[in-house]
Amino acid sequence: MPEGLRLALVVAGKDIRAELRSKTALLSATVFAALVLVIFNFARDPTALSAADLAPSALWVTFAFAAMVAMNRAFTVEREHDAIDGLLLAPIPREALFAGKLLANLAFVATVEAVALPLFVLFFNVDLSRSLWGILGTAVLATIGFVAVGTVFGAMVVRTRFAELLLPVLLLPFMVPPLVGAVQVTSRLLADRPLSEMLGWLRILAAYDVVFVTLAALVFSSVVDE
């Protein structure tokens, strides 16, 4: 296994183990996701807007906000334990450090999404029998993009006093293209539309991922180094 990848996995493993011990990020984000889904149900007029129409948006707004909660908590916990200083002293190439943090954040957000999805199916009465793999694939595609940006911004705002407020302010504009793409694809998947109708959006999602994961990896060293 190439050294960089091994180091990335070590970094990710450390973060994931730490989170599994304290569980703060996972718990708060999961509860948050459930609450948002419930609110969506009550925040609409059932005679005017059917659950099916609202479903893709509700799912993705939930994912987006829960992901922010998870990422914010993950960095805050690390700062509270001053763990990052030890990590920076070790001779880990910054790209590997970023990859490790990205993998850990992806694991957190994926866990929250994995809990939110069944709740979503339950509350909104959605039939995923034909679209499950498509939804999962879209979730992976969209999540990678905004978690990459969130990892960079999370590392920055954790140094400030208003991290919980600043992360959404900074991150939300960056979540819009993946969100728009994800909602468009999800609504087509749920309506059983042909793949050709989704290709444009899927390409944007993929392009976004490639561009922003690369960019985030490149600028990460500017964020963690003195």
């Binding site: 900074l170 504009p173 819009v176 293209p177 561009v211 600028v219 500017s222």
Partner: protein, 237 residues
């Protein structure tokens, strides 16, 4: 670590402030002239009526906001490469001035949209993009406000600036794809291929004045930043 840069002198700060004030005043007077030009010396557009004249403020403001934003992005890349604090000072000034122009655009836009398209807001490409620029500016300035170590603030701002610049094409693409699927109300494009000479002239003069105002305000804001740094160094030393 780059070599320490000597703090700016108060005299230099004052000189820059003076230059910025003069340029901005000239530009504002020029814009007042544009007001007169648009009101009295430019024909009324037949289909849109007098409200069309908002065009002569809205478009130059959009141009200035976009200019401000692009420069923040480009300067951010340069800063990460060269680590020159002057680049960071410029970026901060350009962002602040940019958010003001974006605000002008976002207020004149709906006031123009209502009589022309019957709705205060449309998710058309230009308004949507400006809204994004506005939020990106606000995020950039909020982050700067929360960071107090100068080098850290400069580095982090540069990261946001670069990522914001890269985001813009994606927003544009998403809006475009979104709109081809959900046709919006027919957009009356005032900038039709054959814009009468008087209208074109007013638009160009206005754009020139707005650009000059951008330069003047950024210079003024830059000078104020220099003065603050000079004061800090004086108090500390």
């Amino acid at each position: 670590m780059s070599a320490a840069v000597p703090p700016p002198s108060r005299d230099r700060a004052r000189a820059v402030i003076r230059r910025g004030t003069v340029l901005s005043t000239i530009a504002l007077l020029g814009i007042a002239g544009v007001y007169v030009l648009a009101a009295a010396f430019t024909p009324i557009e037949a289909r849109q009526g007098v409200a069309q004249k908002i065009f002569y403020l809205h478009v130059p403001a959009a141009w200035s906001a976009l200019l401000a934003f692009s420069l923040v992005g480009i300067v951010s890349v340069l800063y990460l490469w060269l680590e020159d604090p002057r680049l960071d000072r410029f970026a901060a000034s350009s962002a602040e001035v940019g958010v003001v122009f974006a605000a002008v655009m976002l207020t004149t836009g709906p006031i123009w949209a209502k009589p022309i398209w019957g709705t205060w807001w449309t998710w058309d490409a230009r308004l949507t993009l400006t809204l994004f620029l506005f939020f990106l500016f606000v995020g950039y300035l909020s982050l700067r406000g929360a960071l107090h170590d100068r080098r850290e603030r400069a580095r982090f701002s540069a990261v946001v600036g670069i990522m914001g610049l890269v985001l813009v094409p994606f927003v544009h693409l998403s809006v475009y794809l979104f709109r081809t699927l959900h046709p919006q109300p027919i957009v009356l494009k005032p900038s039709a291929p054959s814009l009468p000479w008087e209208m074109l002239r007013t638009l160009l003069v206005s754009t020139l004045m707005f650009t000059l105002l951008y330069v003047g305000l950024v210079t003024l804001r830059y000078g104020i930043g220099l003065a603050a740094e000079a004061r800090e160094a004086h108090d500390a030393g």
